[in-house]
Amino acid sequence: MRIELPDPSLVVLIGASGSGKSTFARRHFLPTETVSSDVCRGLVADDENDQAASEDAFAVLRYIAERRLAQPRLTVVDATNVQRESRKPLLELARRHDLFAVAVVLDPPASVCHERNALRPDRDFGRHVVGRQRAQLERSMKRLRKEGFHRVFTLRTPEEVDACEIVRTPLWTDRRTETGPFDVVGDVHGCFDELVLLLRELGYAVDPGARTAVPPEGRRAIFVGDLVDRGPASPAVLALAMSMTEAGHALCVPGNHDEKLARKLGGRNVRIAHGLAETLEQLAGESAAFRERAREFLAGLVSHVVLDGGELVVAHAGMKQAYQGRSSSRVRDFALYGETTGGTDELGLPIRLDWAADYRGSATVVYGHTPVADPVWVNRTINIDTGCVFGGRLTALRWPERELVSVPAARTWAEPARPLGETYAPSGHGTDGEAASAGAAATGTTQDGAAPSPASASAGAFATAAVPRSAFALDMADVAGRRIVETRLARNVTVREEQAAAALEVMGRFAIDPRWLIHLPPTMAPPATSRRPDLLEHPDQAFDEYRAAGVAEVVCEEKHMGSRAIVVVCRDADVARERFGITDGSTGTIHTRTGRAFLEDAAATEEALARVRAAVGAAGLWDELDTGWLLLDAEILPWSAKAGDLIRRQYAAVGSAGRAGLGATIATLERVAARGIDVGDLLAAERTRLDHVERYVAAYSRYVGDVAGVEDLRLAPFHLLAAESGVFVDRPHDWHLERCDRLAAADPDWIAPTGRRIVDVADDESRGVAIAWWEELTASGGEGMVVKPRGFLSPTAKGFAQVGIKCRGREYLRIVYGPEYADPGQIDRLRSRGLGRKRSLASREFALGVEALERFVRREPLHRVHECVFAVLALESDPVDPRL
């Protein structure tokens, strides 16, 4: 016997004790595919025959089976299963996971069972047990199909058991081996002429008379369903789809209209509405054979298809992740109608669930069903029903190119229930009409019908439509708890639960709109501690480290004594809307390294962005980078603009206390000394301390500037990190700085260039020049410099070298280590600094920040970008010595 098993599915072995189930399972299935009740008894009770442990054993069995089906994996249950009550929970499992259950019954003569049991000393139960089990099986046999088994195979003799052949067949929906390329065509609804135009636009050779089409080499069409109804030529569309499908030139999934037509043609009683009448009228002009062929074709369509290694899913009304590649009536329902709660709202309309907003799957889902003015990507889903029959367009998505190609409707063939382009929020409740499914929305005016050209191709998913809010809805599940984020640069980065909890508070209370927050900069480590008597940090160590890491050339960039800022600037509000989904008219963002707005006032932010925008334009960067937006990594000066409160509250207060306390102490000790009492040591020490405090006050004072408005700020960009054309961590710093110089040249009053020195780390003279420069910078109290591999990202055996090492000046470090840190009595105690953690953190954060940008540039869903940005913030909550 040939036993065909859908893979994956739940295979339930049924048979009395001694019927050969375990032997059968061992022969045909992997040990891990089989879940045996005996083994589970052993697991919970250390005895495979302990019947008293059965209840717990079956709980374990069902749990394992359930988790395997969730994967999903073919799973074989090896237990007697002769009673209906024992099969019921198994069938329920399969149903819950939308997979088929298959019964394989082993029913050899009782004598065979007795013989086998006799060979097993542990099976000392009486013969009556087998008899009872066989009787129960006997009673079950007739109703197995009715209980819900998809197929039932019965093997009645040991010979039959030996001779049987097991064949695994993929589920009908599983077309993963078919890799395309494909052209997915939206809802045609009988618009034959437009379909012909679209297919020609896609390069198909169409013969309208013969109702056939041949794709360009290698390509295939996929129809998302709703071939029929409302339009003028449903039979012709059907004929074309059928001929293409039969010739292997196309795939087709059913739409709700197709399904209804199939039922009607099959003689079922359906309500003639929503354009079915026209279709039936048109079909009357076709032959009966054609109608039968169409019925057969439509009735045979599989709910949805999973293609291209699992990357692409096509279903008429969409397909949530949990149902992809599975089979059940509710999966089919979902494919045909989308997801509803089953309830109706106050107006009696079905309450729809916004499955696309919730979608977190890795496969791209292409669907139709609900007409929209423009296709919009929502979490790797796209609705390409652009309402051709309602006078919109017929659209195709080219896969894997992800390009949209569409042709306008020749005319309005049917009146839509609601005008195309009317805004509706897919909040999942209330007002959507029958035609409107959740998950997609169309907003504003479009070029429907306005385009005179026969075809308008728009590459780029966010082409004209405003993106619905649901596309940007972030879920607690996207960020909470322990997470592992995959990055290109550092592979997996783990975020611990408590780190996420800390970041949630900051993100929830202080961060800017996540749509703007596409990057957070990494922390940066200092070099190994210098051994020079009065210094903690010196460029020598940074040069040595890079040399050891195999980096030949580094760039030293001056630190500006400002605050770190990320600037995202768009060419105009349209770019902000189309690319970032921001509709309030703002044109960018300036935020801190923890994701807060840099300037409290939105108008000030726009003023600053306007200056950046003008400079970007003057520098010719929009064209050069072929972009409508770019992201700058920068400092904003003076530091007091952002940290004014910190300077006053923390730094000035300490300086003031030091001056007051030490000043009074010195005066008092001078009086003691005047009395002839020797307090010389103490007095000298207190004077030194006061001197330290004065230097400390001078150190923070350099960071203070009066800021009345944006014009008093200075922007010092040093990385041009990303634009539409890419993430530029593969460009050398020369490239970045040259472009930043152009920005500074364009607005010299407001944008500052960054001083730099290129150093050959193996050349003492070259090093000496940079060190002299550093000494000059820091002697006057400057913050110091950052040393970076000249090529930016510099691969090493273990990953990549630190992207920057900061060498801070002696005076600057007073505001980090305390006023008196440089005192000989103190500095030596500060030299042991654990840098490993800080460096590892810097690398992980950098990898995450770059990953966020790369995902954004690839137009991945917001939750995928946000995951990385959130992780940076979460890692920042780690307790690392903040003085580093």
Binding site: S427, M476, A502, R509, T594, R671, A685, P819, E820
Partner: protein, 476 residues
């Protein structure tokens, strides 16, 4: 850190006996956090001054693994101001003097003599007013000298510390004891872990004066304060430059206003509690529950489930402790849950509740993030009833202590007038299918309304919008 003690009692050099420190010598003492020196800048028959110099070792202050990693651990005023370090130095170096024992001069020790104590930098949380309220009732003439924050920036104003001069005719042991107890109170912090023995110490040192001190409660509260700022180092690292969220709770600035605010808070909770009750809900959410003031009330009402949600994990820990969740019986425990959530993120756990309260929450969110909260609460969670309270900005003119144009809390991102609130609630109703009734909460002022405004939203298709509010008087 410097403390000088001066007497004009004759012979003034007797001060040396009282302090057990010879006026003509420079003496050094070691303490765990540095060195203490005692020397006399003046020692005559008429006038004698003892100076105590405390040299705190700044690097030694940084104790790894104990505190955390906030910047304040490294750059701080501890070496320079009169704090608990000085208090410990006092009790170490002047132990006998503080106890009032002086062998051979028992009578002198028991005598009130003219004394002046001077300190150049005393941290004064609560300002000059509090300094006076602490020392004047004890009979001191108090001179407070403000210290500029930075001479180069007079516009920055005064530093948080002041110069202090106390004059009184009193026993030296009394003066030292007062300084020992009250300097850390002014500072509001202690450098050591405050445990149960601290209570006993306070009672002993306060014998005879603390019981009758008008600021007794404040002194006790601050003396026994735990080191809250070290509690959650991770958060402190992230919180950048936010004011300590717990600082407000101990605010002693303006007592009368404080009392009014407390009364208003209670009144507000009562109003929200009433509105939730009137909705007939069985399962309720307190969104932004904070440390659990409303939860405590809701637990007394008859609900099947009360869930407190807050964005701050630390706050939830406090709520957990205050509500004594670990001590509840299983049946009680099953009625309450605390969840961390951010209302700018969708949270499926919040679906399926009958009612939700947002008490003084929305104003803590930037206006441009409010849309996300609205979508998540009214669009996704969709409880049948939503109660929202927020300050009425118009009423702010009635808070005397509030500077004109200022908001009631440093973290408030906006405060709305009644009209602005109504605009928002109307928009929410239109978008999400709710009906709303507004209620004033607190004493209603004819001109500016009530201090708090409350909106009770009811999801369309549910009854129960009417009849809510009772005594507060509904207005549409």
């Amino acid at each position: 850190m410097l403390l000088t003690l001066t007497t004009t009692h004759r012979p003034a050099t007797d001060l040396g006996f009282l302090l057990h420190k010879h006026p003509d010598r420079h003496q050094r003492f070691s303490v765990p956090f540095g060195e203490v020196h005692v020397a006399y800048p003046e020692a005559t028959e008429e006038r004698c001054t003892a100076a105590l110099v405390l040299d705190v070792d700044p690097v030694g202050l940084v104790r790894r693994g104990q505190g955390g990693f906030a910047l304040a651990e490294y750059v701080n005023d501890r070496p320079y101001v009169a704090s608990s370090f000085l208090a410990v130095a006092l009790v170490t170096v002047f132990k006998s003097a503080m106890a009032g024992t002086c062998r051979g001069h028992e009578e002198l020790a028991a005598t009130a003599i003219p004394l002046v104590a001077e300190l150049p930098a005393v941290p004064a949380r609560g300002g000059e007013r509090l300094v006076r309220r602490l020392f004047e009732p004890l009979g001191y003439a108090v001179e407070v000298t403000p210290v500029p924050l930075d001479d180069a920036h007079p516009e920055w104003g005064a530093a948080p510390h002041v110069g202090l001069r106390l004059t009184a005719t009193t026993r030296l042991s009394q003066l030292l004891t007062h300084l020992y107890v009250l300097l850390p109170v002014l500072d509001g912090e202690k450098h050591y872990w405050v445990d149960d023995t601290e209570i006993e110490k306070l009672l002993r040192r306060g014998e005879g004066w603390l019981g009758d001190h008008p600021e007794r409660d404040l002194i006790v509260r601050r003396s026994l304060k735990h080191q809250a700022r070290l509690v959650h180092p991770a958060l402190a690292t992230l919180a950048e430059d936010d004011p300590d969220p717990e600082a407000g709770a101990t605010g002693d600035e303006a007592i009368p206003t404080q009392a009014r605010r407390t009364a208003l808070r209670e009144h507000r909770l009562e109003a929200v509690q009433g509105a939730l009750k009137a909705s007939g809900a069985r399962r309720v959410l307190d969104l932004g529950c904070g440390p659990g003031a409303l939860l405590r009330r809701l637990l007394k009402d008859d609900y099947d489930l009360v869930v407190g949600a807050d964005v701050s994990h630390r706050t939830l820990e406090i709520a957990h402790r205050r509500l004594r969740l670990d001590e509840l019986h299983e049946a009680q425990r099953a009625r309450i849950a605390l969840w961390q959530t951010a209302l700018t993120y969708r949270d499926r756990r919040l679906q399926g509740f009958d009612a939700a309260a947002l008490v003084e929450v929305i104003e803590h969110l930037d206006a441009d993030r409010l849309g996300a909260l609205t979508a998540n609460v009214f669009g996704v969670a969709r409880p049948g009833t939503v109660v929202v309270t927020t300050p009425n900005a118009e009423y702010n003119v009635r808070w005397e202590s509030l500077p004109a144009g200022a908001m009631r809390h440093p973290d408030h991102r906006f405060e709305w007038t009644r009209a602005e609130f109504a605009t928002w609630t109307t928009a929410v109703c239109a978008e999400h299918g709710y009906a709303v009734v507004h209620h004033p909460v607190g004493e209603v002022d004819d001109e500016v309304g009530a201090p708090t405004q409350m909106a009770v939203f009811t999801r369309a298709g549910r009854s129960g919008a009417a009849g809510v509010g009772g005594a507060t008087g509904a207005t549409r």
